[in-house]
């Protein structure tokens, strides 16, 4: 279980997180929604320790994430980055198998490659993609490779940072379905940030809406449409009128 309590983070004079409280129970898929620039990415990165929060507590199974031993802590996570963040100097299979070729998960090269090809197949890519370089792939394929890399070491917790940004609606649908299937099949805890409502409906068990540095609303995805929170309503309907300023 991931627990955030009263998490604050500022960059210079700009306060991004102003007291975030959130619980993500084990095995659940939590989707965090909110406009661009509301600190969703910062929130994910704070949990991973890529960004150090200023105050408040972030706990993973009751342990403070800032005190946890880094290697075993990070080994529990997989992350799909917004632009896939594939290493462009390495071939696709090496990207996918990256974690399996170093550290305490290290195994022989041939075995790592086999696992990589298996994971590529899982995300719908043929084995001949394995030896291409990331720059030779389309955006959708890069996302799939990123997804394969995130699940390569079978993590307990997977983070998805805007998984459908920059993809066409059909490819978005494919990626959404894949994420849902994989999360269910692996029994993983998932945290996704997005502003794509089709992702929300496809991926989420629960959603949390981040606005003005705090969680404005949180609840099961089934309650989303009947909720009367004005912020959430405006976000779902995509209206320019409402409590959220259109110009930010």
């Amino acid at each position: 279980m991931i627990t955030l309590s009263d998490v604050h983070k500022s960059f210079g004079p700009k306060q991004v997180l102003r007291g975030v409280n959130l619980e993500v129970p084990k095995g659940e898929s939590m989707v965090i929604i909110g406009g661009s620039g509301t600190g969703k990415s910062v929130l994910l990165k704070s949990v991973l320790g890529l960004v150090r929060h200023d105050s408040g507590m972030i706990l993973l199974d009751g342990e403070d994430v800032t005190r946890a031993a880094r290697d075993p802590f990070l080994a529990r996570f997989g992350m799909l980055f917004q632009g896939a963040a594939l290493f462009d100097s390495l071939p696709v299979w090496h990207n996918v198998a990256f974690r399996l070729m170093r550290g305490h998960l290290k195994r022989p090269k041939s075995e790592a490659r086999e696992i990589a090809i298996e994971k590529l197949r899982r995300v719908g890519l043929k084995p001949d993609v394995a030896d291409l370089y990331p720059s030779e792939l389309s955006g959708g394929m890069q996302k799939r490779v990123g997804l394969a890399r995130a699940i390569a070491a079978e993590p307990e917790i997977i983070f998805f940072d805007e998984p459908t940004t920059g993809l066409d609606p059909i490819m978005s649908g494919v990626i959404n379905d894949l994420i849902r299937e994989i999360v269910v099949e692996m029994g993983a805890t998932a945290m996704t940030i997005t502003h794509d409502m089709s992702s929300v409906r496809a991926i989420a068990d629960k959603i949390a809406m981040l606005h003005d540095g705090v969680i404005q609303w949180t609840g099961p995805v089934a309650d989303m449409d009947s909720a009367d929170d004005p912020y959430l309503r405006q976000f779902i309907t995509g209206s320019a009128d409402g409590p959220i300023e259109a110009v930010r």
Binding site: L48, L50, M79, F81, Q82, F87, G103
Partner: protein
Amino acid sequence: MAALILAPLATIGRSVMGLLAGVGRVSIYAGATVSHLFRPPFYPREFLIQLMQIGFLSLPVVGLTALFTGGALALQIYSGGARFNAEAVVPSIVAIGMVRELGPVLGGLMVAGRVAAAIAAEIGTMKVTEQIDALVTLSTNPLKYLTLPRVLAATLSLPLLVAIGDSIGIFGGYLVGTTRLGFNAANYIQNTVDFLEAWDVISGMIKGAVFGFIVAMMGCYHGMNSGKGAAGVGRATTNAVVSASILILASNYILTEVFFSA
């Protein structure tokens, strides 16, 4: 009135504080990098790739620079020496000038242009496309995986590049000396060998090692601290080349002072 006096002082103070903070950050970064030298995991494959990229592929640039510099040096010393009938010193001055100063400094500057820029652009792009974050989440320390192999490769390969550049530079002087200035080939070589001391060569190679460290460190540091987007990477690249060049020239003076001021 007070504001009129204080405002410029405050500006100077801010710049000095900024400079000191920058020096501090670079020092901490360099210290952290070096501290990984003896702590596993090691990445020999990355190191070999960088040795190839930084060392081997810089050979043409360094070689051509040395060749033309050695040739020009021979012409200059010949015409300058003619003013007091000392044309005969051409071989020895070319050798000493190349080996002690021009070989390491010009080689270092050329490598700064080639390598510091390439490193800063590559790591900066990795930073803005979240590849550095991805490395961390995959339990890999960017200092170990990216910075250390580059710094180590540059520090070890620059002395060799300098040595090769020295030889090519002396050869450039020899070519000009024997074909244009009427030197006897055997005498030219004998003259060079007689006057050159081992310490001349070694001091130049030590300079090369220091310059290599500076070049890779500046490339990595500015890349890692790159701003956002294409403009951010562009600025990081410029800063890497400029700071590496200035540090090379400054440290060259200090090293020369240490090595040769009796």
